[in-house]
Protein backbone atom coordinates (compact mmCIF):
# COMPACT_ATOMS: atom_id res chain seq x y z
CA UNK A 1 0.00 0.00 0.00
CA UNK A 2 1.18 3.43 -0.80
CA UNK A 3 2.20 5.82 1.92
CA UNK A 4 -0.77 8.06 1.26
CA UNK A 5 -3.26 5.22 1.67
CA UNK A 6 -1.48 4.21 4.84
CA UNK A 7 -1.84 7.71 6.23
CA UNK A 8 -5.51 7.74 5.27
CA UNK A 9 -6.11 4.47 7.09
CA UNK A 10 -4.19 5.77 10.09
CA UNK A 11 -6.41 8.86 10.17
CA UNK A 12 -9.68 6.93 9.91
CA UNK A 13 -8.49 4.38 12.40
CA UNK A 14 -7.64 7.10 14.92
CA UNK A 15 -10.76 9.17 14.29
CA UNK A 16 -13.53 6.60 14.01
CA UNK A 17 -12.51 3.04 14.77
CA UNK A 18 -10.48 3.84 17.84
CA UNK A 19 -12.47 6.94 18.68
CA UNK A 20 -10.90 8.37 21.79
CA UNK A 21 -14.21 9.21 23.47
CA UNK A 22 -16.58 6.46 22.50
CA UNK A 23 -14.35 3.43 21.99
CA UNK A 24 -11.56 4.11 24.44
CA UNK A 25 -13.53 6.12 26.99
CA UNK A 26 -10.83 8.71 27.55
CA UNK A 27 -11.68 12.37 28.35
CA UNK A 28 -15.24 11.56 29.33
CA UNK A 29 -15.28 14.46 31.79
CA UNK A 30 -15.21 17.05 29.04
CA UNK A 31 -17.49 14.88 26.90
CA UNK A 32 -20.30 15.05 29.45
CA UNK A 33 -19.45 18.43 30.93
CA UNK A 34 -19.29 20.54 27.82
CA UNK A 35 -21.69 18.85 25.42
CA UNK A 36 -24.85 20.54 26.68
CA UNK A 37 -24.29 23.47 24.36
CA UNK A 38 -23.49 23.28 20.66
CA UNK A 39 -21.45 26.50 20.44
CA UNK A 40 -19.33 25.58 23.44
CA UNK A 41 -18.67 22.19 21.86
CA UNK A 42 -17.48 23.79 18.64
CA UNK A 43 -15.05 26.02 20.56
CA UNK A 44 -13.80 23.11 22.65
CA UNK A 45 -13.30 20.88 19.59
CA UNK A 46 -11.26 23.49 17.76
CA UNK A 47 -9.17 24.18 20.84
CA UNK A 48 -8.54 20.45 21.34
CA UNK A 49 -7.41 19.99 17.72
CA UNK A 50 -5.04 22.93 18.10
CA UNK A 51 -3.56 21.95 21.44
CA UNK A 52 -3.33 18.25 20.62
CA UNK A 53 -1.29 18.91 17.48
CA UNK A 54 1.12 21.13 19.37
CA UNK A 55 1.43 18.80 22.34
CA UNK A 56 2.05 15.74 20.17
CA UNK A 57 4.72 17.53 18.18
CA UNK A 58 6.50 18.52 21.38
CA UNK A 59 6.26 15.11 23.01
CA UNK A 60 7.44 13.31 19.85
CA UNK A 61 10.54 15.50 19.78
CA UNK A 62 11.25 15.12 23.49
CA UNK A 63 10.72 11.36 23.41
CA UNK A 64 12.88 10.69 20.38
CA UNK A 65 15.72 13.05 21.18
CA UNK A 66 15.81 13.02 24.95
CA UNK A 67 13.93 10.38 26.91
CA UNK A 68 14.56 7.41 24.61
CA UNK A 69 18.31 7.99 24.06
CA UNK A 70 18.77 8.41 27.81
CA UNK A 71 16.83 5.22 28.48
CA UNK A 72 14.56 6.84 31.07
CA UNK A 73 11.40 7.08 28.97
CA UNK A 74 9.74 3.91 30.24
CA UNK A 75 9.04 5.32 33.69
CA UNK A 76 9.40 9.04 33.11
CA UNK A 77 7.07 9.64 30.19
CA UNK A 78 3.94 10.63 32.13
CA UNK A 79 5.48 13.35 34.35
CA UNK A 80 7.57 14.63 31.48
CA UNK A 81 4.61 14.84 29.09
CA UNK A 82 2.34 16.46 31.65
CA UNK A 83 5.01 19.08 32.27
CA UNK A 84 5.37 19.73 28.55
CA UNK A 85 1.63 19.96 27.89
CA UNK A 86 0.99 22.27 30.84
CA UNK A 87 3.81 24.63 29.85
CA UNK A 88 2.77 24.56 26.22
CA UNK A 89 -0.86 25.40 26.92
CA UNK A 90 0.19 28.29 29.13
CA UNK A 91 2.49 29.55 26.42
CA UNK A 92 -0.19 29.30 23.73
CA UNK A 93 -2.62 31.14 25.95
CA UNK A 94 -0.21 34.04 26.42
CA UNK A 95 0.65 34.11 22.74
CA UNK A 96 -2.96 34.17 21.62
CA UNK A 97 -3.82 36.86 24.11
CA UNK A 98 -1.19 39.12 22.65
CA UNK A 99 -1.41 38.43 18.94
CA UNK A 100 -4.91 37.13 18.28
CA UNK A 101 -7.50 38.53 20.68
CA UNK A 102 -10.29 37.18 18.48
CA UNK A 103 -8.99 33.62 18.69
CA UNK A 104 -8.26 34.13 22.38
CA UNK A 105 -11.84 35.12 23.03
CA UNK A 106 -13.09 32.10 21.11
CA UNK A 107 -10.76 29.52 22.68
CA UNK A 108 -9.43 31.28 25.76
CA UNK A 109 -11.72 29.76 28.34
CA UNK A 110 -11.12 26.22 27.05
CA UNK A 111 -7.35 26.35 27.06
CA UNK A 112 -6.90 25.94 30.85
CA UNK A 113 -9.48 23.15 30.72
CA UNK A 114 -7.43 21.34 28.11
CA UNK A 115 -4.32 21.39 30.28
CA UNK A 116 -5.92 18.66 32.31
CA UNK A 117 -7.68 16.92 29.43
CA UNK A 118 -6.59 13.29 29.42
CA UNK A 119 -7.26 12.95 25.68
CA UNK A 120 -4.38 15.31 24.97
CA UNK A 121 -2.03 13.32 27.19
CA UNK A 122 -3.22 10.05 25.66
CA UNK A 123 -2.70 11.21 22.09
CA UNK A 124 0.66 12.78 22.90
CA UNK A 125 1.81 9.59 24.60
CA UNK A 126 0.59 7.36 21.80
CA UNK A 127 2.46 9.40 19.21
CA UNK A 128 5.75 9.24 21.09
CA UNK A 129 5.35 5.72 22.34
CA UNK A 130 2.90 3.55 20.34
CA UNK A 131 1.48 0.77 22.40
CA UNK A 132 -0.03 2.90 25.08
CA UNK A 133 -3.29 1.15 24.30
CA UNK A 134 -2.00 -2.11 22.84
CA UNK A 135 1.22 -3.07 24.49
CA UNK A 136 2.35 -5.53 21.79
CA UNK A 137 3.15 -2.99 19.07
CA UNK A 138 6.82 -2.83 18.09
CA UNK A 139 6.67 0.23 15.95
CA UNK A 140 7.60 3.87 16.12
CA UNK A 141 5.68 6.56 14.30
CA UNK A 142 7.60 8.81 12.00
CA UNK A 143 7.03 12.48 12.62
CA UNK A 144 4.53 12.77 9.74
CA UNK A 145 2.60 9.70 10.85
CA UNK A 146 2.47 11.09 14.35
CA UNK A 147 0.90 14.31 13.12
CA UNK A 148 -1.70 12.49 11.01
CA UNK A 149 -2.52 10.20 13.91
CA UNK A 150 -2.99 13.15 16.28
CA UNK A 151 -5.16 14.98 13.78
CA UNK A 152 -7.26 11.83 13.53
CA UNK A 153 -7.66 11.55 17.28
CA UNK A 154 -8.56 15.23 17.61
CA UNK A 155 -11.03 15.07 14.72
CA UNK A 156 -12.60 11.98 16.26
CA UNK A 157 -12.90 13.81 19.56
CA UNK A 158 -14.56 16.77 17.86
CA UNK A 159 -16.88 14.57 15.80
CA UNK A 160 -18.06 12.58 18.80
CA UNK A 161 -18.46 15.69 20.97
CA UNK A 162 -20.42 17.60 18.32
CA UNK A 163 -22.74 14.71 17.48
CA UNK A 164 -23.43 14.19 21.17
CA UNK A 165 -24.02 17.92 21.70
CA UNK A 166 -26.49 17.97 18.79
CA UNK A 167 -28.38 15.03 20.27
CA UNK A 168 -28.42 16.58 23.73
CA UNK A 169 -29.83 19.86 22.47
CA UNK A 170 -32.73 17.91 20.98
CA UNK A 171 -33.09 15.83 24.13
CA UNK A 172 -33.71 19.03 26.08
CA UNK A 173 -37.08 19.53 24.43
CA UNK A 174 -37.93 15.87 23.88
CA UNK A 175 -40.62 14.20 25.98
CA UNK A 176 -38.30 12.22 28.27
CA UNK A 177 -39.76 10.30 31.25
CA UNK A 178 -39.55 12.44 34.37
CA UNK A 179 -37.19 10.09 36.21
CA UNK A 180 -34.67 10.04 33.35
CA UNK A 181 -34.51 13.76 32.66
CA UNK A 182 -31.13 15.44 32.51
CA UNK A 183 -27.93 13.52 33.12
CA UNK A 184 -29.55 10.09 33.27
CA UNK A 185 -30.83 10.40 29.72
CA UNK A 186 -27.47 11.82 28.61
CA UNK A 187 -25.64 8.78 29.94
CA UNK A 188 -28.03 6.38 28.21
CA UNK A 189 -27.59 8.30 24.96
CA UNK A 190 -23.82 8.27 25.33
CA UNK A 191 -23.97 4.52 25.84
CA UNK A 192 -25.99 3.99 22.67
CA UNK A 193 -23.68 6.28 20.74
CA UNK A 194 -20.69 4.35 22.04
CA UNK A 195 -22.33 1.09 20.95
CA UNK A 196 -22.43 2.40 17.39
CA UNK A 197 -18.73 3.19 17.48
CA UNK A 198 -17.74 -0.10 19.09
CA UNK A 199 -19.50 -1.76 16.16
CA UNK A 200 -16.76 -0.39 13.92
CA UNK A 201 -14.04 -2.19 15.90
CA UNK A 202 -12.15 -4.88 14.05
CA UNK A 203 -12.26 -3.31 10.60
CA UNK A 204 -8.55 -2.81 10.84
CA UNK A 205 -6.26 -2.11 13.72
CA UNK A 206 -3.68 0.52 14.31
Amino acid sequence: MSTLANLGLLFIGAALINNILLTRFIALCSFVGISNDWHTSVGMSLAVIFVMMMASTATWVVWNFMLEPLGVGEFLYIPAFILIIAALVQFVEMYLRKYSPVLYRAMGIYLPLITTNCAVLAAATEVAKPGFFKMAIEYNYTFGEGLVYTLGVAAGYGFALLSFAAIRERLDIAPVPEALKGNAMSFITAGLLSLAYVGLAGWFGL
Partner: protein, 300 residues
Protein backbone atom coordinates in the same frame (compact mmCIF):
# COMPACT_ATOMS: atom_id res chain seq x y z
CA UNK B 1 24.13 1.67 37.53
CA UNK B 2 20.87 2.24 39.37
CA UNK B 3 22.18 5.58 40.53
CA UNK B 4 22.99 6.42 36.93
CA UNK B 5 19.37 5.95 35.88
CA UNK B 6 18.20 8.16 38.74
CA UNK B 7 20.69 10.86 37.77
CA UNK B 8 19.56 10.68 34.16
CA UNK B 9 15.89 10.93 35.11
CA UNK B 10 16.51 13.88 37.42
CA UNK B 11 18.62 15.53 34.75
CA UNK B 12 16.05 14.98 31.99
CA UNK B 13 13.13 16.32 33.99
CA UNK B 14 15.18 19.26 35.25
CA UNK B 15 16.14 20.21 31.72
CA UNK B 16 12.53 20.00 30.54
CA UNK B 17 11.39 21.98 33.56
CA UNK B 18 14.04 24.66 33.10
CA UNK B 19 13.28 24.96 29.40
CA UNK B 20 9.56 25.30 30.11
CA UNK B 21 10.22 27.86 32.85
CA UNK B 22 12.47 29.88 30.55
CA UNK B 23 9.88 29.73 27.79
CA UNK B 24 7.07 30.88 30.06
CA UNK B 25 9.14 33.59 31.71
CA UNK B 26 10.14 35.00 28.33
CA UNK B 27 6.58 34.76 27.10
CA UNK B 28 5.21 36.49 30.16
CA UNK B 29 7.55 39.42 29.52
CA UNK B 30 7.24 39.48 25.76
CA UNK B 31 3.52 38.83 25.39
CA UNK B 32 2.50 40.99 28.31
CA UNK B 33 -0.89 42.61 27.75
CA UNK B 34 -2.03 45.63 29.67
CA UNK B 35 -5.50 44.98 31.01
CA UNK B 36 -7.77 47.90 31.75
CA UNK B 37 -8.48 47.61 35.50
CA UNK B 38 -11.86 49.22 34.93
CA UNK B 39 -13.05 46.18 32.96
CA UNK B 40 -13.01 44.07 36.09
CA UNK B 41 -14.75 46.80 38.11
CA UNK B 42 -17.45 47.33 35.50
CA UNK B 43 -17.93 43.59 35.22
CA UNK B 44 -18.52 43.46 38.96
CA UNK B 45 -21.17 46.17 38.66
CA UNK B 46 -23.09 44.36 35.90
CA UNK B 47 -25.71 41.75 36.80
CA UNK B 48 -23.57 38.87 35.52
CA UNK B 49 -26.43 36.85 34.10
CA UNK B 50 -24.98 36.93 30.55
CA UNK B 51 -28.47 37.47 29.14
CA UNK B 52 -27.17 39.04 25.93
CA UNK B 53 -29.94 41.62 25.72
CA UNK B 54 -27.41 44.42 25.19
CA UNK B 55 -26.05 42.77 22.06
CA UNK B 56 -22.80 41.60 23.65
CA UNK B 57 -22.23 37.87 24.04
CA UNK B 58 -21.56 38.09 27.77
CA UNK B 59 -21.42 40.54 30.65
CA UNK B 60 -17.63 40.47 30.45
CA UNK B 61 -17.68 41.39 26.77
CA UNK B 62 -20.07 44.21 27.61
CA UNK B 63 -17.71 45.41 30.35
CA UNK B 64 -14.83 45.42 27.86
CA UNK B 65 -16.89 47.37 25.33
CA UNK B 66 -17.92 49.92 27.95
CA UNK B 67 -14.35 50.34 29.22
CA UNK B 68 -13.10 50.79 25.65
CA UNK B 69 -15.71 53.48 25.11
CA UNK B 70 -17.54 51.55 22.38
CA UNK B 71 -20.70 51.35 24.42
CA UNK B 72 -22.41 53.86 26.69
CA UNK B 73 -22.78 53.52 30.44
CA UNK B 74 -26.44 52.57 30.10
CA UNK B 75 -25.66 49.63 27.82
CA UNK B 76 -26.99 47.08 30.26
CA UNK B 77 -30.68 46.69 29.51
CA UNK B 78 -31.41 44.30 32.31
CA UNK B 79 -29.67 46.24 35.07
CA UNK B 80 -31.79 49.37 34.87
CA UNK B 81 -31.00 52.68 36.48
CA UNK B 82 -28.98 51.34 39.44
CA UNK B 83 -26.46 49.51 37.26
CA UNK B 84 -26.24 52.40 34.80
CA UNK B 85 -25.41 54.80 37.64
CA UNK B 86 -22.75 52.47 39.04
CA UNK B 87 -21.14 52.00 35.64
CA UNK B 88 -21.29 55.73 34.86
CA UNK B 89 -19.48 56.43 38.12
CA UNK B 90 -16.78 53.90 37.22
CA UNK B 91 -16.03 55.36 33.82
CA UNK B 92 -16.27 58.90 35.12
CA UNK B 93 -19.37 60.01 33.31
CA UNK B 94 -22.35 61.90 34.61
CA UNK B 95 -25.61 60.20 35.39
CA UNK B 96 -27.62 58.96 32.45
CA UNK B 97 -31.28 58.17 32.33
CA UNK B 98 -32.51 54.71 31.61
CA UNK B 99 -35.89 54.08 30.12
CA UNK B 100 -36.94 50.97 31.98
CA UNK B 101 -39.31 48.57 30.32
CA UNK B 102 -41.06 45.38 31.31
CA UNK B 103 -42.40 42.58 29.21
CA UNK B 104 -46.14 42.02 28.82
CA UNK B 105 -48.30 39.38 27.16
CA UNK B 106 -51.10 40.47 24.85
CA UNK B 107 -53.26 37.38 25.08
CA UNK B 108 -55.79 36.04 27.52
CA UNK B 109 -56.76 32.95 25.56
CA UNK B 110 -54.87 29.99 26.92
CA UNK B 111 -57.17 27.04 27.42
CA UNK B 112 -60.16 29.22 26.47
CA UNK B 113 -58.87 29.55 22.91
CA UNK B 114 -60.17 27.12 20.29
CA UNK B 115 -57.69 24.67 18.81
CA UNK B 116 -57.69 24.13 15.07
CA UNK B 117 -56.04 20.74 15.46
CA UNK B 118 -54.48 18.59 18.15
CA UNK B 119 -50.75 19.09 18.25
CA UNK B 120 -48.58 16.10 19.12
CA UNK B 121 -44.87 16.69 18.90
CA UNK B 122 -41.98 18.55 20.42
CA UNK B 123 -43.46 20.73 23.16
CA UNK B 124 -42.02 23.97 21.93
CA UNK B 125 -43.85 27.04 20.61
CA UNK B 126 -41.29 27.48 17.84
CA UNK B 127 -41.80 23.91 16.60
CA UNK B 128 -45.60 24.08 16.91
CA UNK B 129 -45.72 27.42 15.13
CA UNK B 130 -43.97 25.91 12.12
CA UNK B 131 -46.68 23.26 11.73
CA UNK B 132 -49.39 25.15 9.82
CA UNK B 133 -49.04 28.17 12.10
CA UNK B 134 -49.58 26.32 15.34
CA UNK B 135 -52.55 24.50 16.87
CA UNK B 136 -54.44 27.67 17.83
CA UNK B 137 -57.29 28.79 15.62
CA UNK B 138 -56.24 32.36 16.44
CA UNK B 139 -53.23 33.42 14.38
CA UNK B 140 -52.07 35.95 16.98
CA UNK B 141 -52.59 34.18 20.29
CA UNK B 142 -50.26 32.46 22.74
CA UNK B 143 -49.40 28.87 21.80
CA UNK B 144 -48.54 28.18 25.41
CA UNK B 145 -45.65 25.68 25.34
CA UNK B 146 -43.45 28.03 27.35
CA UNK B 147 -40.54 28.94 25.07
CA UNK B 148 -40.45 32.32 26.83
CA UNK B 149 -40.42 30.69 30.25
CA UNK B 150 -37.43 28.51 29.35
CA UNK B 151 -35.61 31.44 27.77
CA UNK B 152 -36.05 33.91 30.63
CA UNK B 153 -32.65 34.24 32.34
CA UNK B 154 -34.20 35.84 35.41
CA UNK B 155 -36.89 33.27 36.16
CA UNK B 156 -39.56 35.93 35.87
CA UNK B 157 -41.95 33.88 33.74
CA UNK B 158 -44.04 30.95 34.91
CA UNK B 159 -46.77 29.04 33.11
CA UNK B 160 -50.16 29.05 34.87
CA UNK B 161 -52.94 26.50 34.56
CA UNK B 162 -54.51 28.43 31.71
CA UNK B 163 -51.40 27.59 29.72
CA UNK B 164 -50.34 31.21 29.59
CA UNK B 165 -47.01 32.70 30.62
CA UNK B 166 -47.33 34.87 33.71
CA UNK B 167 -44.71 37.58 33.96
CA UNK B 168 -43.62 38.59 37.44
CA UNK B 169 -43.29 42.34 36.95
CA UNK B 170 -40.87 42.62 39.85
CA UNK B 171 -38.46 40.03 38.53
CA UNK B 172 -38.75 41.14 34.89
CA UNK B 173 -35.81 43.31 33.86
CA UNK B 174 -37.06 44.15 30.40
CA UNK B 175 -34.18 42.39 28.65
CA UNK B 176 -36.52 41.41 25.80
CA UNK B 177 -35.25 37.86 25.39
CA UNK B 178 -38.76 36.40 25.74
CA UNK B 179 -39.96 38.71 22.96
CA UNK B 180 -37.18 37.42 20.71
CA UNK B 181 -37.75 33.77 21.62
CA UNK B 182 -41.52 33.91 21.15
CA UNK B 183 -42.39 32.86 17.58
CA UNK B 184 -45.10 35.49 17.70
CA UNK B 185 -42.98 38.15 19.39
CA UNK B 186 -42.61 39.84 16.02
CA UNK B 187 -46.36 40.44 15.92
CA UNK B 188 -46.24 41.75 19.50
CA UNK B 189 -47.84 38.85 21.34
CA UNK B 190 -45.15 39.61 23.90
CA UNK B 191 -44.14 43.24 23.95
CA UNK B 192 -41.90 45.52 25.97
CA UNK B 193 -43.99 48.19 27.66
CA UNK B 194 -42.92 51.17 29.77
CA UNK B 195 -42.06 50.14 33.30
CA UNK B 196 -45.05 51.92 34.77
CA UNK B 197 -47.55 50.82 32.08
CA UNK B 198 -50.71 50.76 34.23
CA UNK B 199 -52.93 48.60 32.00
CA UNK B 200 -52.38 45.96 29.35
CA UNK B 201 -54.77 44.71 26.66
CA UNK B 202 -54.93 40.92 26.71
CA UNK B 203 -55.55 40.42 23.02
CA UNK B 204 -53.37 40.63 19.96
CA UNK B 205 -55.81 39.80 17.15
CA UNK B 206 -56.38 42.07 14.18
CA UNK B 207 -58.63 39.80 12.11
CA UNK B 208 -62.37 40.23 11.70
CA UNK B 209 -64.17 40.42 15.01
CA UNK B 210 -66.77 37.82 14.00
CA UNK B 211 -64.19 35.20 13.11
CA UNK B 212 -62.13 36.18 16.11
CA UNK B 213 -64.98 35.50 18.51
CA UNK B 214 -65.37 31.98 17.22
CA UNK B 215 -61.64 31.43 17.77
CA UNK B 216 -61.48 32.55 21.36
CA UNK B 217 -63.93 33.67 24.01
CA UNK B 218 -61.44 36.02 25.64
CA UNK B 219 -60.72 38.33 22.71
CA UNK B 220 -61.14 42.07 22.30
CA UNK B 221 -64.36 42.59 20.33
CA UNK B 222 -63.51 46.15 19.29
CA UNK B 223 -66.70 47.51 20.92
CA UNK B 224 -64.97 50.84 21.66
CA UNK B 225 -66.47 51.02 25.13
CA UNK B 226 -63.04 51.69 26.63
CA UNK B 227 -62.40 54.37 24.04
CA UNK B 228 -65.60 56.17 24.92
CA UNK B 229 -65.24 55.88 28.69
CA UNK B 230 -61.55 56.73 29.00
CA UNK B 231 -61.29 60.14 30.75
CA UNK B 232 -57.83 60.88 29.38
CA UNK B 233 -58.31 59.78 25.74
CA UNK B 234 -55.55 57.19 26.14
CA UNK B 235 -57.11 54.06 24.66
CA UNK B 236 -58.24 53.69 21.07
CA UNK B 237 -59.46 50.88 18.89
CA UNK B 238 -56.97 50.76 16.04
CA UNK B 239 -57.26 48.06 13.39
CA UNK B 240 -59.99 46.30 15.36
CA UNK B 241 -57.97 46.13 18.56
CA UNK B 242 -57.82 48.30 21.66
CA UNK B 243 -54.42 49.97 21.91
CA UNK B 244 -53.23 51.96 24.93
CA UNK B 245 -51.29 55.18 24.53
CA UNK B 246 -48.99 55.00 27.55
CA UNK B 247 -48.01 58.66 27.20
CA UNK B 248 -51.54 59.65 28.14
CA UNK B 249 -52.71 56.75 30.30
CA UNK B 250 -53.12 57.72 33.96
CA UNK B 251 -53.90 54.26 35.22
CA UNK B 252 -57.37 55.15 36.48
CA UNK B 253 -58.64 51.68 35.64
CA UNK B 254 -61.86 52.79 33.93
CA UNK B 255 -61.21 50.69 30.83
CA UNK B 256 -60.54 47.65 33.01
CA UNK B 257 -63.96 48.06 34.61
CA UNK B 258 -66.00 48.76 31.49
CA UNK B 259 -64.52 46.10 29.21
CA UNK B 260 -67.32 43.56 28.60
CA UNK B 261 -64.78 40.89 27.67
CA UNK B 262 -62.57 41.58 30.69
CA UNK B 263 -59.58 41.52 28.40
CA UNK B 264 -57.86 44.58 29.88
CA UNK B 265 -55.84 44.02 33.04
CA UNK B 266 -54.15 46.33 35.49
CA UNK B 267 -50.40 45.96 35.12
CA UNK B 268 -47.07 47.61 35.77
CA UNK B 269 -44.64 47.72 38.66
CA UNK B 270 -46.58 50.37 40.59
CA UNK B 271 -49.97 48.70 40.38
CA UNK B 272 -48.51 45.36 41.27
CA UNK B 273 -46.83 46.71 44.39
CA UNK B 274 -48.98 44.63 46.71
CA UNK B 275 -49.37 41.52 44.63
CA UNK B 276 -46.71 39.06 43.62
CA UNK B 277 -47.79 39.06 40.02
CA UNK B 278 -50.55 41.30 38.79
CA UNK B 279 -50.22 39.39 35.57
CA UNK B 280 -51.64 36.35 37.25
CA UNK B 281 -55.19 37.68 37.28
CA UNK B 282 -57.27 35.04 35.57
CA UNK B 283 -60.13 35.34 33.09
CA UNK B 284 -62.84 37.66 34.27
CA UNK B 285 -60.85 39.10 37.17
CA UNK B 286 -58.42 41.91 37.56
CA UNK B 287 -55.77 42.52 40.14
CA UNK B 288 -57.20 45.20 42.35
CA UNK B 289 -55.29 48.24 43.41
CA UNK B 290 -56.17 47.89 47.08
CA UNK B 291 -55.33 44.19 47.27
CA UNK B 292 -53.95 43.19 50.70
CA UNK B 293 -50.40 41.94 51.04
CA UNK B 294 -51.42 38.32 50.35
CA UNK B 295 -50.40 37.26 46.85
CA UNK B 296 -53.21 36.84 44.35
CA UNK B 297 -53.85 33.22 43.42
CA UNK B 298 -52.48 32.65 39.96
CA UNK B 299 -55.20 31.76 37.49
CA UNK B 300 -58.00 32.48 39.96
Amino acid sequence: MDLMIVMKAVGALSVIGLLAAALLATAARKFHVEVDPRVEAIFEALPGSNCGACGNPSCFAAAEAIAAGDKAANTCVAGGQAVADAVAALIGEGACEVKAVISARHCGGGTNAIRAYTYVGVMSCAAANKLAGGPLACAAGCIGFGDCQRACPFGAISMDERGLPVIDVHLCTGCGICVRECPRGQISLLELLPEAAPVVVRCNAHDKVKGRKSNCSMCCIACKKCERECPSDAIHVIDMLAVVDYEKCTGCGTCVEVCPQKCIDLYGRDNAADVKAADGAGPGTTAELAEPAEPVEVGA
